[in-house]
C-alpha cells in the first residue's frame, strides 16, 4: 500500500509540473492585464512602470522560472488586484466552497442512494419511473436555470428561504461554518440542492443500474438460498458491490463540484472560491488564476488518490501491495 501511495505521489508531482506549464503559459496568451490596470490617461512611461512593477518586463521563460522557484517554496505569488498572497485569498474563501460542496455531496447520497435503490428494486412501478424522470431532468436542465427558478419560487414568491449569502456563521476549530445555525442552514439549502442535482442524478442512476445487475447474480441468489434476510441481502451483500462504481464516480465528481461551483456560487452570491475565480478572470489577475488552477490540480490528484484507497477497501480484488496470493 505504501509503495502504491508513493508511486501515486510521484505521478502527481509530474502532473502538477505539466499543469504549471500549461496554466502559466495559457494565462499569458489570453490577454495582457496591464491594460486593465492602466487608466486611460496612462502614457507609455506609466505603462512601462506598471509592467516593470508586475515583473512582466522579463522574458516569459524567466518569469516561469521565477514562478516555479517560488512555487517550490510554497509561494504562488501575489494577487494583482488585492495585493495579498494568492493562496491566502484562496484559503480564506475555500471553507465556504468546501461546505457548500460537502452539503451537496451529503444531499446527493442521502437522497440518491435510497431513490436509486427503490428504482432498482421496483423498476416497473410508477414511482420508479418518476424517480428516473427526475434524474434525467437533473442531468439535462442547466444549473443556473434551476437556481433562478428556486430563488423565484422559495425566495421571491413564498419568501421561505433567503436568496443570497451565507447567513449566520459559527466558528468551529477556527473555521467559520454556516451549517450549525438555523439561519445558516436556510442559506445553505438552495445552493447545496442546486449543486447536488447532477451528483444526485448520477447516484440514482448508478445505484439503480448496479442493483438491477447485482440482483441477477448467482451470489445474491446463493445468499437468498441460504435464507439470509432480504434486508441484509440488499443492504450488505448487494450494496457493497453497488457502492464501488458510486464511490469512484462521486470521488471524481466531488472534485469538479468543488472546483467548478462557479455557477452556483454566482447565482446565490455564495462567497466561495468559485466566485473569486470569476472575478479574477474578469480582471486578468494572473497570479490568482494560476494559483487557483494549481490548487484545483492538487485537490483533484489528492481526491483521486483517496478514491483509489477507498476503492481498494471496498473491492478486495483491486487491493494492491501483494496481499493477494
Amino acid at each position: 500500500m505504501l509503495e502504491f501511495i508513493l508511486r501515486r505521489v510521484a505521478q502527481a508531482v509530474l502532473v502538477l509540473f505539466v499543469m504549471t506549464l500549461l496554466v502559466f503559459f495559457g494565462v499569458h496568451v489570453i490577454g495582457n492585464p496591464v491594460y486593465i490596470f492602466a487608466s486611460s490617461e496612462c502614457t507609455r512611461e506609466c505603462l512601462n512602470d506598471i509592467i516593470a512593477n508586475l515583473g512582466l518586463d522579463r522574458p516569459i521563460w524567466e518569469q516561469y522560472w521565477l514562478f516555479l522557484g517560488n512555487l517550490l517554496q510554497g509561494d504562488l505569488g501575489r494577487s494583482f488586484t488585492h495585493g495579498v498572497p494568492a493562496m491566502s485569498l484562496i484559503w480564506q474563501r475555500f471553507p465556504a466552497t468546501l461546505e457548500l460542496a460537502t452539503a451537496a455531496l451529503v444531499l446527493a447520497l442521502a437522497a440518491g442512494l435510497p431513490l436509486g435503490l427503490y428504482a432498482g428494486l421496483r423498476p416497473d412501478s410508477p414511482v420508479s419511473k418518476a424517480i428516473m424522470g427526475f434524474s434525467m431532468l437533473g442531468f439535462s436542465v442547466p444549473i443556473f436555470w434551476i437556481g433562478l427558478i428556486l430563488i423565484l419560487t422559495f425566495s421571491v414568491r413564498l419568501g421561505w428561504l433567503p436568496a443570497i449569502g451565507r447567513g449566520q456563521l459559527v466558528e468551529v476549530l477556527g473555521v467559520r461554518v454556516s451549517f450549525l445555525t438555523l439561519d445558516g442552514l436556510r442559506h445553505l439549502a438552495m445552493p447545496s440542492f442546486t449543486l447536488s442535482l447532477i451528483m444526485m442524478s448520477m447516484v440514482i442512476r448508478l445505484t439503480r443500474a448496479g442493483m438491477r445487475e447485482v440482483l441477477h447474480t448467482d451470489y445474491i441468489r446463493f445468499a437468498r438460498a441460504n435464507g439470509i434476510r432480504e434486508s441484509r441481502v440488499i443492504g450488505v451483500h448487494a450494496m457493497k458491490n453497488i457502492l464501488i462504481p458510486v464511490v469512484t464516480v462521486l470521488g471524481m465528481e466531488f472534485a469538479s463540484v468543488i472546483a467548478f461551483a462557479v455557477v452556483t456560487e454566482s447565482i446565490f452570491s455564495w462567497p466561495g472560491v468559485g466566485k473569486m475565480l470569476i472575478d479574477a478572470i474578469a480582471v486578468l489577475d494572473r497570479p490568482l488564476i494560476v494559483a487557483y488552477l494549481i490548487f484545483v490540480v492538487v485537490m483533484f490528484v489528492t481526491l483521486n488518490l483517496l478514491v483509489d484507497i477507498l476503492y481498494s477497501v471496498l473491492d478486495p480484488r483491486v487491493r494492491v501491495g501483494g496481499r493477494t496470493r
Binding site: 445468499a223 438460498a225 441460504n226
Partner: protein, 324 residues
C-alpha cells in the same frame, strides 16, 4: 414417514409478451431421506427451473402455476415468503454451477458464512466463527481459520466450490439441490467435489437432487435418475436400471451420445434435430419430432406409466425392458 421432497404435477410458467410459457409441465418427483436423485437433461430442459421452483427463488417473470411441492410433508406453495425464507438454508439448501459466481466477490468468506449461519441461529461471533471453521474443515479445506479471512478471489475454483458446499451444509438441511456443481471444474477437482458431497450427504442423511447433463457423474453418484426433456420428466428409475436398459427413446439417444460408450473410430450416434424451445412445443409428446419410434398416437400427450416397479416412462412406444 413423508418423503423429504414430494413434487406432484408441478407447472412453472414464464410470463412473456406472448402469454405464459410453461418451462415445467407436470413434474412428479419423490426424493426420500438420504437418497441421491440425479436430474438429467439438456440445457433448457427445465432442470434448473425445477430447483428454483422448489426453493421459491424463481426469477421475477416466472411463477409456479399448478401442482404441489412438499418438503417433509409441508406444502411449500402455501408458505408465506418469510416462512419460506426460514426454510431456505435450514431445511433446503442449494449449490450452484459456477463457484466463481456463487460467492460474493467483495465479502470475506467469514462474513458470508456467518451470515448464512446466523440467518437461522442466534450465535455469538466467536461461536459462529468456530462453527464455520469446523464446517470448512469438514469439506476438506486445510487451514480453515486462515481461509475464513480471505476473499473468494484468493481461492481456487475447487476451493470456492468447497466453501459453497460448506455453506449449503451448515444447517444440515434435509434436502440439497446441487445445480451442476461440478460442470465448471477440472475433471480431477470434479471427482473430489463429488466425493465430498456424497460422503457428507450419506453421513448426515441429507437427500440430494443433483442437477447435471453429465451421465458419467450420474452413474458415479446417484441412486435414482430422472431424465428431463422440454419441461417434463420422460423417464425415471433406479440409476443402473435406467442407464443399462433405457425405456424412453430420448434416454437411449442421450446415453448413446456419450463418446465413451462406443468403440473408437465408430461414428457417434446423434439425436437428430434439437430440443424445441418453449415457444414451439408440439401438442403431444415433445420428443416425437426427433423420435424414430413415433406414430400417430404421439400427437397426444403421453402420461407417465409405471413400466416396472419404481420405473416410470412417459412414452407411447417405450423400448423393451431388459428381460424382454
Amino acid at each position: 414417514m413423508a418423503p423429504v421432497l414430494d413434487i406432484r404435477g408441478l407447472r412453472t410458467a414464464f410470463a412473456t409478451a406472448a402469454g405464459d410459457l410453461h418451462a415445467l409441465d407436470g413434474i412428479d418427483l419423490v426424493v426420500n431421506r438420504g437418497e441421491i436423485v440425479a436430474l438429467v437433461g439438456e440445457s433448457g430442459s427445465g432442470k434448473s427451473v425445477t430447483g428454483f421452483s422448489i426453493t421459491g427463488l424463481l426469477p421475477a417473470a416466472a411463477r409456479v402455476t399448478a401442482g404441489e411441492v412438499r418438503l417433509n410433508g409441508i406444502d411449500l406453495r402455501a408458505l408465506s415468503p418469510a416462512a419460506m425464507r426460514s426454510l431456505r438454508g435450514r431445511k433446503v439448501a442449494m449449490i450452484f454451477q459456477d463457484p466463481m459466481m456463487t460467492l460474493n466477490p467483495v465479502l470475506r468468506i467469514d462474513t458470508q458464512m456467518t451470515d448464512a449461519l446466523r440467518a437461522h441461529l442466534p450465535l455469538g461471533r466467536a461461536e459462529a466463527r468456530a462453527r464455520c471453521a469446523a464446517a470448512l474443515a469438514e469439506v476438506g479445506i486445510d487451514e480453515p481459520e486462515a481461509r475464513l479471512k480471505m476473499y473468494p478471489h484468493q481461492l481456487s475454483g475447487g476451493m470456492r466450490q468447497r466453501v459453497a458446499i460448506a455453506i449449503a451444509l451448515l444447517h444440515s438441511p434435509d434436502l440439497v439441490i446441487a445445480d451442476e456443481p461440478t460442470t465448471a471444474l477440472d475433471v480431477t477437482i470434479q471427482g473430489q467435489i463429488l466425493a465430498v458431497v456424497q460422503r457428507l450427504c450419506r453421513e448426515k442423511g441429507t437427500a440430494l437432487v443433483w442437477i447435471t447433463h453429465d451421465l458419467a457423474v450420474v452413474a458415479g453418484i446417484a441412486d435414482r435418475i430422472a431424465v428431463m426433456y422440454a419441461g417434463r420428466i420422460v423417464e425415471q428409475g433406479p440409476v443402473d436400471a435406467v442407464l443399462d436398459a433405457p425405456r424412453h427413446p430420448y434416454t437411449r439417444g442421450l446415453i448413446d451420445s456419450v463418446p465413451a460408450s462406443h468403440p473408437k473410430g465408430q461414428r457417434l450416434p446423434q439425436i437428430p434435430g434439437r430440443m424445441p424451445t418453449l415457444t414451439e412445443l408440439p401438442e403431444g409428446c415433445a420428443f416425437a419430432p426427433r423420435c424414430t419410434r413415433r406414430s400417430a398416437a404421439c400427437a397426444a400427450r403421453p402420461d407417465p406409466a409405471e413400466a416396472a416397479p419404481g420405473r416410470w416412462v412417459r412414452c407411447f412406444h417405450p423400448l423393451p425392458g431388459a428381460g424382454g
